[in-house]
Amino acid sequence: MNLGRDVVGRLFNWAGVQAAGGFWMPEQGSTTAVAVDHIFSLVLWVSVFFFVLIVTLMVVFVVRYRRRPGRLEAEPSPTHNTPLEITWTVIPIAITIGIFVWGFKVYLDVNTPPANAYEVMVTGQKWKWLFTYPNGHVDENLHVPVDTPIRLVMTSEDVIHGFYVPAFRLKRDVVPGRYVKVWFSALEPGEYQIYCTQYCGTGHSDMWAKVVVHRPGGFERWLEQASNFMKTMPPAKAGEMLYRTRGCAQCHTVDGSGGTGPTWKGLFASHVPIEGGRVMVADEDYIRTCILDPTKNVPVGFQPVMPTFKGRLKDDEITAIIEYIKTLK
């Protein structure tokens, strides 16, 4: 057994598939990665064998049988040989069935989360990821404890995105109108790259985020501190955090460019023409009303499409957002 494992391990290394990331494949960050890489190396060796076989035969035939003076005719040889042809049909069938079975087995494991997994909600939107923790905290990166099964329940707010963590060998399309579930268990503390793999427009290649894997105990500390950002951060900073994680950024820009809603740059204390001919000053009360009752005072040139945030944002959170808007001059 040990000898067998040793041989497999060596082949594994020669194939360039190593725990630290080799010629093929990145570092192995999850339990799944180890299982997937074993199949990868098997398929790699099968492929290398057949490729070398094909190319060697080709080269040998070209060298030995190339057309030259004294060899202008082919040698007599059979035009078919049924047993031989059946052999080279059946052997590939057997090999591919072997690969199929192993590939499917690991795929099943990858798709069957353990019962005690810790759950995080993932939301894909143009062009960022948001991670919602069981206590309601929303973050732009995925923080998880090491050595713990994590279950991700994913959905999209707009088009199809693809959630991909190469180090975990984990990928799944995130489809609007559906909840997609995947799981993983990280092996080592550290930071791992998240990509979007389903093309989704202008910022598709900017949908980067990190998986931050914490040491034992570190995750709980992080979550407590992060969830308390309203208390620990200055209000304007907290407001910026809310802007990015509560959906404001989807319609309101902070750099003066256009969007579904008015930009926040220079908004505070400005005079806003309202549908119906009134003009209002964008002070604290105006902004608060806009958040809680968005269709009451719709600025000229915009549709009344904003949903109410009554019950979704607390008073101190609204205050923080107002403080943030004040800083956008």
Binding site: V36, R67, I93, Y107, V175, S205
Partner: protein, 564 residues
């Protein structure tokens, strides 16, 4: 008639007909071309427009690769432009070049000649197919100027129903192109069923025709599904009917099922004719009968059938059920088998042959090498757990290009060089032909092998920005793309030179035993002066080089080598 004259179709001077009546000078004037029903002229017109599309798609490819020299923003193009570029590169290469490529240009030219027939079954329909192609291509080109699509060539919903680019026009173009494809397929199926000459049974048909036949069946059966899907997409965008958009109660993954139900078989529309070309070339240039004719012919049919049952392997990470994924994974491995069988049969054909390393044969060797890699890397993607990691990365981009470029385009180039003397009655420079083949081989591997490595490390495709860790791979890949570009310039230059100044070609420059080599080069308007004698299409050993003729002539029975 002397032996030589009978062997060369009675045309003298080795069977070259440039100075006499042939299909190129039979009628003159632009109108005689635009309204022609001659399959040879239609084939040549297809060749011109298809190569133009290839050129345009190639320009987009070089621009994309140039942007990717650096990981960040580029002065060359913005993210939106980049997204349009890769969409157009894909759409043009797939719908305007690779799908019609071999069947419509080489197939149109060669199919009736191989059957010893005067034309295809429906010459007017053939011309109509050509104009449908032109119409579809025009719509696609107009869409490029009026708001080039940025959806990727796959048009995935709901992105394609919500983006503000001109999706409707592009999709309408592809819809029309689909009809061109269906009619060509229909024409070829009827031609092969009805116009085979006396003595040419199904199993005495050249393998290229088996390839074209399998392709035509897929074109007829699968393309309508694409047509309906695209109409639904147009209706969704224009009327908001809510079939695919979840905001309207639709299912976005349904589009992927419909799309791949066509587009996976379409991959075989692209590769089957290429395999047919290789089957012809490997026998002729090994100067030996093809090995295992029946297995090769049947594997084409097996591929055509199985190709309809594997579309779900594009959706292993899209959220289809585990059971569906399992079935699709299994069938995907099974569709690999017929291709493997063909490769072994081609190798066995070379065994004990007299291998002539002329330019077309270099493309055969190139094909075996590249298609070997393309096919074997499919095993990684067929294995479910591994596919989850590699899906939508550069690994898939590389695999796809190894099959479509390393397979189809290389075979197309091999076939083009093989039938070129027949099409235009002139030879090209063998020296530059070999240089061109070598540049394409080296450039291609440099471009795309790097992408396998990059993809296995997790580089997502369709990315304007990328992580700095991938920069070295991207640079190498771009250098490869430039070498590839130079290779194509070389090929274009010597082929154009050949058209104008090339040495006149004999009727049979390579010693092929299929019927087209019994016509003069180029063939007359009616293809054959007299009905050609049907024999074994792979009896290439019955043809021997004759220095006096400057081409191959059929041996008299007394000259037959012992044992054949």
């Amino acid at each position: 008639m002397t032996g030589i004259e009978s062997a060369t179709g009675g045309f003298g001077s080795g069977g070259n007909a440039l100075g006499r009546d042939n299909y190129l000078n039979h009628e003159r004037g632009i109108k005689s071309w635009l309204l022609t029903r001659d399959h040879k002229r239609i084939g040549v017109m297809y060749l011109v427009v298809i190569l133009s599309s290839f050129f345009l798609g190639g320009i987009f490819a070089e621009l994309i690769r140039t942007k990717l020299l650096t990981p960040g923003n580029s002065a060359l193009m913005k993210a939106d432009t980049y997204n349009q570029m890769f969409t157009l590169h894909g759409a043009i290469m797939i719908f305007l070049f690779v799908i019609p490529g071999i069947p419509a240009s080489l197939g149109n030219f060669v199919l009736p000649l191989m059957l010893g027939a005067k034309d295809v079954a429906f010459p007017r329909l053939n011309l109509a197919s050509f104009y449908l192609w032109v119409g579809g291509a025009t719509l696609a080109l107009v869409s490029m100027v009026t708001g080039a699509v940025d959806t990727g060539w796959t048009f995935y919903t709901p992105y394609s129903t919500t983006t503000n680019t001109n999706v409707i026009l592009m999709v309408a173009g592809v819809f029309v192109l689909g009809f061109s494809s269906i009619f060509t397929g229909l024409n070829f199926v009827v031609t092969i069923h009805k116009l085979r000459p006396a003595g040419m049974t199904w199993f005495r048909m050249p393998l290229f025709l088996w390839g074209i036949y399998g392709t035509a069946i897929i074109q007829i059966m699968a393309t309508p599904v694409l047509g309906i899907t695209l109409l639904l997409l147009i209706a969704e965008r224009a009327l908001g009917i809510g079939i695919f958009d979840p905001a309207l109660g639709g299912d976005p993954v349904l589009f992927q099922h419909f799309f791949w139900f066509y587009s996976h078989p379409a991959v075989y529309i692209m590769i089957l004719p290429a395999m047919g070309v290789i089957s012809e070339l490997v026998s002729v240039f090994s100067r030996k009968h093809i090995f295992g004719y029946t297995f090769i012919a049947m594997s084409s049919i097996a591929i055509a059938v199985l190709s309809f049952l594997v579309w779900g392997h594009h959706m292993f990470v899209a959220g289809q059920s585990t059971l569906s994924s399992m079935i699709f994974s299994f069938l995907t491995f099974m569709v690999a088998i017929p291709s493997a069988v063909k490769v072994f049969n081609w190798l066995a054909t070379m065994y004990k042959g007299s291998i002539w390393l002329a330019t077309p044969m270099l493309y055969v060797l190139s094909f075996l090498f590249l298609f070997g890699i393309g096919g074997l890397t499919g095993l990684f993607l067929g294995a479910l757990a591994v596919d989850v990691h590699l899906h939508d990365t550069y690994f898939v981009v590389a695999h796809f290009h190894y099959v479509m470029f390393g397979g189809t385009v290389i075979a197309f180039l091999g076939g083009l060089h093989y039938w070129w003397p027949k099409m235009f009655g002139r030879m090209y420079s063998e020296f530059w032909g070999r240089i061109g083949a070598l540049l394409v081989f080296v450039g291609f591997n440099t471009t795309f092998f790097t992408q396998f490595v990059m993809g296995s490390h997790g580089a997502p495709r369709r990315s304007y920005h990328y992580q700095p860790q991938f920069e070295a791979y991207h640079r190498l890949s771009t250098i490869g793309a430039y070498i590839l570009g130079v290779g194509f310039v070389v090929i274009a230059v010597y082929l154009i030179h050949s058209l104008l100044r090339g040495r006149p070609a004999p009727a049979n420059p390579w010693g092929g035993a299929t019927l087209e080599w019994q016509a003069s080069s180029p063939p007359p308007h009616d293809n054959f002066a007299s009905t050609p004698a049907v024999g074994d299409p792979y009896d290439v050993e019955a043809w021997t080089w004759d220095g006096a003729v400057g081409g191959f002539v059929r041996r008299t029975p007394a000259e037959q080598p012992a044992g054949s």
